[in-house]
């Protein structure tokens, strides 16, 4: 595997287990031997699950899909930080070389009233979908597709919109925030459209509805600690939150 130095790790894993959204849940401790430093964190979990299955125990449920940092499904709170100790990576892109032999690793699900645990480490992030559905869309012309170059967009606006659009809706911002606030996510989704001419039609309505939905889902209130920006795997900037505030104040005043 890869270009690793062939080092193997022995680890103690403390993993949250919870039967379903109503069950109480608790930590379960597992010993793992001979984990390659080339493995991703999720591959390490695959090894653990195979071991559990071979012992006739129930495998640990966790979310994952692309395993290349683009889908946003993986969601583990590792040793006190969402997506683990590395900056700007998702759990699937975190490698075991970030850990040392003999480490104890605590793995928990995202904790938020708006993200109920489905099972073990898998949480329901439907709240994000409902926020998007409330206003994260644009009106488009029907008929023939327009020539893309018909609409002039300043380069800076295109760039800023693009970097906001990099948000993969993983929810690490909520998980990291001491207030369980979803402001970074919502600000990315509002910014991405507010910056472009295509987003102008629903601009006011969009921010009003998305913030309202965000509040109704039970997410907390932002206190600008900046934990979200520091933990976001896509490095979504706090400037987006300032823009969201501006959009919201503007839309409410007029």
């Amino acid at each position: 595997m890869g270009s690793g130095n062939g080092e193997l790790l022995n680890l103690t894993l403390k993993v949250w287990r919870q039967k379903n959204s109503k069950a109480k849940g608790s930590f379960e401790t597992h010993q793992l031997k001979g984990i390659s430093t080339d493995m991703s964190f999720l591959e390490m979990f695959d090894v653990l699950n195979e071991k559990l299955i071979s012992e006739n125990k129930e495998a640990i449920a966790f979310d994952h899909d692309c395993r290349e940092g683009i889908c946003g499904m993986c969601s583990m709170y590792i040793n006190g930080r969402p997506h683990g100790p590395k900056h700007a990576v998702t759990t699937c892109q975190l490698h075991m070389r970030s850990f040392k032999n003999g480490d104890t690793i605590i793995v928990e699900p995202w904790r938020s009233i708006a993200f109920p645990v489905i099972k073990d480490l898998a949480v329901d992030r439907g709240a994000f979908d409902r926020i998007i559905a409330s206003g994260g869309y644009v009106s488009v012309n029907t008929g023939n597709a327009q020539d893309a170059n018909n609409i002039l967009i300043p380069k800076t606006a295109a760039d800023e919109s693009f970097s906001a659009a990099a948000c993969i809706a993983c929810g690490a911002c909520v998980a990291a925030c001491k207030n369980g606030s979803a402001m970074l996510f919502v600000s990315a989704k509002v910014s991405q459209l507010a910056l472009l001419p295509q987003g102008q039609v629903e601009r006011k309505e969009r921010v009003l509805k998305m913030v309202q939905q965000m509040d109704e889902e039970g997410f907390g209130n932002c206190t600008n600690t900046g934990a979200c920006e520091a933990e976001c795997p896509k490095e979504i900037s706090l400037e987006n939150i300032a823009r969201l505030n501006r959009e919201m104040i503007g839309a409410s005043l007029t």
């Binding site: 904790r111 708006a114 913030v211 039970g218 997410f219 206190t223 600008n224 600690t225 400037e239 959009e247």
Partner: protein, 224 residues
């Protein structure tokens, strides 16, 4: 502004930011007037300033607005804190907060509570005496002698310690609060935000430092 806005999370935060900036502006005035003691003229200049503040109707009206702003800031903070607690009913086993944020940005409620306790002590030391229970006589210029109250209050070591610690709390509260207020109001700009942040840091250090000097220098007998 619509009612819905003030009920929204961003609306409540806006109230925090606006009242915060208002309280910051008060600090400037308060610090300026108090700095008159540094003339070290037995409080004559300071008492002149304090008398003006005590008897100008505009300032007295402003005092009411100030208390209203303060109470709003506190109540809104309580509401936000309660809501934020509810947003995470089950906490984490392990949280590495220092990896992603400063301790003081996460401790605004604690710092604010310390400041409130200090404020109650501080108001009983000075404001209650000057407004209600009366001051000890007049100075050479015939002004009410608030300076004399400072002199006696700051002979007590515990008072000096409490005031100094409170100013440390104030510094950290401002260190986060100053720039946070601008972020909440959406006043973010590539050119100006670094400037605002720098001004915020300078303000957060300088103002509490000047305030802390007052009890310390009076206790030490440098200012007589």
């Amino acid at each position: 502004m619509s009612q819905g806005f003030l009920k929204s999370s961003i609306g409540k935060k806006t109230v925090m930011a606006l009242t915060g900036i208002f309280l910051i502006s008060f600090l400037v005035v308060h610090c300026f007037i108090n700095s008159l003691i540094f003339f070290n003229d037995g409080g004559l200049t300071f008492n002149t300033g304090a008398n003006f503040m005590a008897h100008n109707w505009l300032i007295r009206a402003g005092e009411l607005v100030l208390f209203a702003g303060l109470i709003l800031h506190i109540i809104q903070a309580l509401i936000l804190t309660i809501e934020n607690r509810k947003a995470r009913p089950i906490g984490y086993e392990m949280v590495n907060g220092n990896a992603n944020s400063s301790w003081y940005s996460r401790s605004m409620g604690l710092l604010g509570t310390l400041l409130l306790i200090f404020l109650i002590i501080h108001l009983t030391h000075f404001w209650v005496k000057s407004r209600f229970t009366g001051l000890p006589g007049e100075d050479a210029n015939g002004h009410e002698n608030l300076y004399a109250v400072m002199q006696t209050t700051f002979t007590m070591l515990w008072v000096v310690v409490v005031y100094t610690l409170a100013m440390v709390s104030l510094a950290y509260h401002l260190l986060h609060g100053f720039q946070s207020a601008f972020q909440t109001l959406g006043l973010n700009h590539k050119k100006y935000t670094p400037l605002i942040k720098n001004i915020g840091v300078a303000f957060s250090i300088i103002i509490p430092f000047i305030f802390a000097l007052m009890p310390i220098l009076m206790y030490a007998g440098v200012i007589k």
